[in-house]
């Protein structure tokens, strides 16, 4: 199946709830994070002082039991499979090469950001993404060098993805979900992940051919391995100094996604 078709189908799935729920879509916008001034999500009786606007429940988690089990399973997988692979990769690959690969795969992901800028009506940002892609691909040796960092307007363009588009369209998180291997997510973000997957050129070989006997698996495998050190660092950072690692990862994930959706 062509990637375009998959994306379209996923996007239609995303639109449906919005279409059927037009009137209230404004109100289901992503919940307010503590940094925003508007209407705090906290119940007044839960506030400990006048300026307290923190909420203790950032997402509904009816599947907590199952999620905690998956969380444990992933934890084992990360520590006993991914961590050794990541260490091996860091050991054999010099830092400039790792940085180059990170830049390359980030540059290749351009369609994910570009299409989602467009779907959210952020055409100015789409233009910036286009400039970035052009500069890094042509001037930055196929994206291995982030030449665009030398241009102030292109240094910090917030990156858009399908999950953020769905949020912008008024879709709420739905229940929190811990995916096997992939980790924290929600119903909406899982849908978004499907969209990102289809929009990322490194999967197009897979999606077009649909078999694993060709070269098609190479780019996504390299991408997975090169992303491990960063992912594990984030994971460790979320667990470290926590009281309940499961809740800490959940809170960090949801807060971060809400803030990305608002940018």
């Amino acid at each position: 199946m062509k990637p375009g078709l998959i994306t379209l189908r996923l996007l239609l799935m995303g639109i449906l709830p919005v279409l059927t729920n037009c009137a209230s879509s404004q109100k289901t916008a992503p919940s307010t994070s503590p940094t925003t001034a508007s209407a705090p999500a906290v119940k007044t009786e839960d506030a400990v002082d006048e300026l307290d606007d923190y909420s203790s429940t950032e997402v509904s988690d009816p599947l907590e039991k199952l999620n905690r089990a998956t969380f444990q399973l992933n934890d084992g997988l990360y520590n006993f499979v991914f961590r050794p692979v990541s260490k091996g990769y860091v050991f054999v690959t010099p830092k400039p090469v790792r940085q180059g690969l990170d830049n390359f795969f980030d540059n290749v992901k351009f369609p994910v950001r570009f299409v989602n800028c467009g779907l959210q009506g952020k055409f100015n940002r789409a233009g910036l993404e286009f400039q970035k892609f052009g500069i890094n691909t042509i001037g930055g040796l196929a994206g291995f060098i982030r030449l665009s960092d030398k241009i102030p307007s292109l240094v910090a363009v917030p990156s858009e993805d399908t999950g953020q588009t769905l949020a912008k369209w008024g879709l709420g998180h739905g229940p929190y979900l811990v995916l096997p291997v992939l980790g924290p997510s929600s119903f909406r973000e899982t849908l978004g992940y499907g969209g990102d997957y289809a929009l990322n050129p490194i999967h197009w070989g897979f999606l077009l051919k649909g078999d694993t006997n060709t070269w098609a698996w190479i780019p996504s495998t390299v991408n997975t391995i090169r992303s491990l050190p960063g992912q594990l660092m984030n994971y460790d950072e979320s667990r470290k100094n926590s009281v309940d690692p499961y809740l800490s990862v959940r809170s960090i994930y949801i807060q971060n996604r809400n803030s990305a959706a608002q940018e």
Binding site: S33, P34, T35, T36, A37, E45, D46, A47, V48, D49, L51, D52, Y54, S55, S56, T57, E58, Q99, V155, A156, E237, K240, N241, S242, V243, D244, L247, S248, R250, S251, I252, Q255, N256, N258, S259, A260, Q262
Partner: protein, 195 residues
């Protein structure tokens, strides 16, 4: 609204406006001082554990750990005895300082770009900054609050993730399961676990 109160409001509005501008600038200046002092300490020490002990008095001057602990615990706080509140604050302070200093690598200096501060409520100013550390870029917002006449840091929001909101989720759930004792025990466990 009657005419008189409308006039009164119109006349005093610039006053409030001016006041909030002044306090915004004051809060931002206070944050800069705090950051500079912490960086000066960080420049002198050579290890993470040394930083945690040296930086403690400096942070205690600029961070409102009492407010942070109260909000991190949440609604259960009112049921803590004064002793339990004191104990929880001590433990939480240690935990925060440790998690702060664990992000630090000796010899690496962050570059911080301060952006325009906003005041979402009276007595509160949010200062967004762009932080570049070890080649990575982070959005960090400092939440400043007025306490006893001076401005103090009441929360740090990194990439949209509020430190206090993160602990609120965890500690509120712990309180609901086992009350104040459970909160203190779990904080003790976190502090004694090697970072």
């Amino acid at each position: 609204m009657n005419r008189r109160s409308l006039i009164a409001l119109t006349l005093t509005a610039p006053l409030f406006w001016g006041q909030s501008l002044a306090s915004t600038a004051e809060a931002q200046q206070r944050l800069r001082t705090a950051v500079d002092e912490v960086l000066a300490v960080a420049d002198r020490v050579s290890s993470r554990s040394a930083l945690a002990t040296t930086v403690r008095p400096v942070l205690q001057r600029h961070i409102s750990f009492e407010t942070m602990t109260r909000r991190a615990v949440g609604p259960g706080w009112k049921q803590f005895t004064p002793d339990q509140q004191k104990k929880a604050t001590q433990l939480f302070t240690t935990l925060i300082i440790r998690s702060y200093s664990s992000k630090f690598t000796p010899g690496e200096r962050p570059s911080i770009n301060y952006q325009a501060a906003v005041s979402p409520a009276a007595g509160r100013v949010d200062v967004p900054t762009g932080l570049v550390y070890k080649g990575s870029r982070y959005n960090v917002t400092y939440r400043m609050e007025q306490e006893g006449g001076s401005w103090k840091i009441a929360d740090v929001v990194i990439e949209g993730v509020s430190l206090i909101a993160n602990y609120r989720t965890q500690l509120d759930s712990t309180f609901k399961k086992g009350g104040a004792d459970a909160v203190i025990t779990s904080l003790e466990q976190s502090v004694s676990r090697p970072s």
